[in-house]
């Protein structure tokens, strides 16, 4: 018994030390990042986006200067608004993004390439043509991910004209930690087009991380090619910062 315990302890110590001492071999070096950033620089084109995986690999932001860098945590449902091609920058020792990308219908646009511990692969998003209905010039954190969305006041409404397309998409959530405030009422977003209510999106207080960025996707009823949309944002508690993005797709 004593011998077994002794052997197990030695194995445990040696295994731990081996894991620790080889950690750096599973992580990218400065030169790996530089080469990857150089490759992206030479191949970047409009509509490209870099997605990090795992999302903590944000050291990439120091190096990648040729396209926006995103750390979306939900690869299946991320909207990647306005982007056609996704450059997935991953650390294969720490996770594989393929399953999520395939589930959303993305397909590899090129074979994966290795830069030391880093892997780079382009994916075609097969994204439909979209027409934004809200401004996207600022980013706000909702549900711990930076979202390109318009900050709007709860209790307000806004009117916008835009192409009808075949479907309307709305995403909304409370910005920052206020989303988790206990006992706060839901925020309700209603969307009307030409007097007809297209849909309602309820954003309750976020009780569980990952549920704060709410989605509404509705087919567009037949009618004019361009319409006037009205968005109303209501709640009995209007003090929380709120963020919304909307678009139509062909």
């Amino acid at each position: 018994m004593r011998r077994v315990a002794f052997a197990l302890l030695l194995a445990c110590g040696a295994g731990s030390l081996l894991f620790d001492l080889t950690l750096s071999s599973r992580l990218p070096r400065e030169s790996d990042w530089a080469e990857l950033a150089g490759a992206l620089r030479s191949e970047a084109r409009p509509g490209d986006l870099a997605q990090l995986w795992p999302v903590w690999a944000e050291e990439a932001r120091l190096h990648i200067d040729s396209m926006p860098v995103l750390a979306e945590e939900d690869l299946v449902h991320a909207d990647y608004l306005g982007f056609k091609r996704l450059w997935v920058v991953s650390l294969p020792h720490f996770g594989n993004p393929e399953k999520g990308l395939q589930e959303r219908g993305a397909t590899p646009a090129a074979p994966a390439r290795r830069f030391g511990a880093l892997q780079l692969q382009a994916w075609d998003l097969h994204a439909p043509e979209i027409s934004p209905l809200t401004t996207q010039d600022a980013e706000h954190e909702v549900d711990y991910v930076a979202r390109r969305c318009a900050q709007v006041r709860i209790g307000s409404h806004f009117v916008v004209r835009g192409p009808a397309g075949s479907a309307l998409h709305v995403r909304a959530g409370v910005i920052g930690e206020r989303a988790y405030d206990a006992g706060k009422p839901a925020v309700t977003v209603q969307v009307f087009a030409e007097g007809l209510r297209l849909g309602t999106l309820d954003i309750p207080r976020t009780a569980r991380d990952g549920t704060g960025w709410r989605r509404l996707d509705v087919p567009m009823p037949a009618g004019a090619a361009e319409r006037q949309f009205i968005f109303t944002i209501d709640s009995s508690d209007a003090l929380r910062p709120f963020c919304l993005t909307a678009w139509t797709s062909k």
Binding site: R2, A5, F6, L9, L10, C12, G13, A14, G15, S16, L17, F19, D20, L21, L23, S24, R26, L27, P28, P54, W56, A57, E58, E59, R61, L62, D65, P68, V69, L91, F94, G95, A138, E139, H140, E141, Y144, V145, A146, I175, G176, E177, Y180, A182, R208, D209, G210
Partner: protein, 508 residues
């Protein structure tokens, strides 16, 4: 054995002193430094005009009323002696000096507890505790976590001595030692019931029970070391108790969910211990805990081992209730780890009885911890063990990345080099008190100003916290850039990310 214990205690204190310079000033240290400054002003008044000082305790001691006075008084005395009067040490080092003494005392008492098994166990007990970056890091801080952990062991040693002695001296010592623990931190409130239960479980029950009343000496120490209580003691004691009964719950990231309010996962403290400590230490401590519980179930524990089990359990128990605030990594239940170490050391000696085997076993248990210290220090709040997959694994699991802001030291040299004169820096979680200490310690240029918000800043040093993720997009929007200028990335995992407004020196 006391000679060996003293040597280990001195070595521990020396190790802390020699490795403290790079340890950043944690948020709480900032407050305790400010408290120590106020208390030092009172001490000087006491030396000049004692009656006036006694009359004005409220003015000088109300700051940080939520913690008793002893440790902060020691920080103040140390600063008064070694900095103000003799100019022998810089500010921060003299404030931290008493903390190193408490770290040394912890080694001393752990060695005494371990030595009751064997001399080797006496040496290994403190080593098992300190050979992990989390515990090693806390040994440097002018805070209360290591002091109360030391006193947790110290009261245990004093209690064992008191219940075994026929003399009154050890019993008085025990009563006063408990008073010291009470004057260090409120964790000491839990000791009387633990010792009562211990006494009831002993064969010499009556003798032990008759030792308990010596704890009534403790208020003398509490009052002597905490001048705030010299006026309106009931009101101040009530405020002290109320603060901790209604303590705020800070957001804490745990397995991908930010925990904000009770109920917290019941196994939270054990899980965090398992993830942050090196695996061999976790395995040994787990085996040791099970061995103690097994011995307890079979009523085969001697009084000392029974006490170690009781003290370790009592240090952990409040955090298993699912309602006690859980922030601060493992610092609030360090006593749990510490009081398991003597038995773990004994177990190690039992597994490897020959000197050569013991050396191999000790190396197997201690080397991963030493690697962790060498690799991560001084960024102790970020350290994770192999079970988590080290720091990157913990990031993938969605575990709290850091706390207390002390990792900012990594980017201070860059700021000193690049910031233009009178630059405004948003330091995020770094409070003004810690910022002021960085300046006074010349770790940060005096002309670099503290900006209250990103909007008022030229540079932003953001600390990566899950619950503060809104700050980074805020800086992107304000600065008009997504590219950091520099940062602290531990094994590739962002801890501190520095942004510079475009056009400012150092901006990418």
């Amino acid at each position: 054995m006391k000679g060996l214990a003293r040597s280990l205690g001195l070595a521990t204190a020396a190790a802390m002193a020699l490795t403290q310079a790079s340890v950043g000033f944690t948020r709480d240290e900032g407050y305790y430094f400010a408290a120590a400054q106020s208390y030092e002003a009172w001490l000087r008044l006491l030396l000049r005009s004692p009656l006036q000082a006694i009359a004005q305790t409220g003015k000088y001691w109300s700051y940080n009323f939520e913690h008793p006075g002893l440790t902060k008084l020691l920080f103040a005395v140390s600063h008064l002696v070694f900095t103000t009067l003799t100019h022998a040490l810089p500010d921060a080092l003299s404030w931290r000096l008493p903390a190193f003494v408490f770290a040394g005392l912890l080694s001393y008492w752990l060695c005494l507890l371990g030595s009751s098994r064997s001399r080797a166990a006496g040496v290994l007990a403190p080593l098992l505790f300190w050979c992990a970056e989390r515990t090693f890091f806390h040994g440097h801080l002018a805070c209360f976590d290591i002091p109360i952990c030391a006193l947790w062991a110290g009261v245990g040693v004093a209690w064992l001595s008191a219940i075994q002695s026929e003399q009154r001296g050890p019993k008085i010592c025990f009563g006063l030692m408990y008073g010291v623990s009470l004057a260090v931190k409120h964790n000491a409130w839990f000791l009387p019931p633990v010792l009562l239960v211990h006494a009831l479980l002993l064969t010499q029950r009556l003798k032990a029970l008759l030792t308990l009343p010596y704890m009534l000496l403790s208020p003398l120490v509490l009052f002597a070391a905490w001048p705030l209580l010299w006026h309106e003691p009931i009101g101040h004691l009530q405020a002290w108790v109320a603060f901790h009964l209604h303590h705020v719950h800070y957001a804490w990231w745990y397995f991908g969910q930010v925990l904000r309010a009770p109920p917290f996962p019941i196994w939270y403290p054990l899980m965090v211990d398992a993830l942050v400590l090196p695996i061999p230490a976790v395995v040994l401590l787990a085996a040791d805990g099970l061995s103690l519980l097994y011995g307890f179930a079979r009523r085969k524990l001697d009084p000392q081992r029974l006490l170690e089990l009781a003290l370790a359990g009592a240090a952990l128990l409040p955090f298993l209730t699912t309602t006690t605030p859980i922030f601060g990594g493992i610092k609030h239940w360090l006593g749990f780890v510490a009081l398991l170490c003597p038995e773990a050391a004994g177990l190690l000696v039992l597994i490897a009885p020959s000197p050569r085997k013991l050396a191999a076993a000790a190396a197997a248990v201690l080397l991963p911890g030493l690697w962790q210290i060498a690799h991560v220090h001084p960024y102790g709040t970020s350290a994770y063990g192999e079970l988590a997959g080290d720091i990157p694994g913990a990031a993938s699991l969605g575990m709290q990345r850091q706390y207390w802001s002390s990792n900012v030291t990594a980017v201070l040299p860059w700021l000193n080099e690049h910031c233009p004169p009178d630059a405004r820096v948003y330091f995020h979680e770094v409070n003004f008190e810690s910022y002021r200490t960085y300046v006074s310690m010349q770790m940060l240029r005096a002309d670099i100003h503290y900006a209250a918000s990103p909007a008022q800043s030229d540079y932003a040093a953001l600390q990566w916290h899950r619950e503060f993720r809104d700050r980074e997009p805020e800086v992107w929007n304000l600065y008009g850039t997504h590219r950091p200028a520099t940062g602290l990335y531990l094994d590739g995992v962002p801890q501190i990310v520095v942004y510079a407004r475009p056009g400012k020196p150092g901006a990418p």
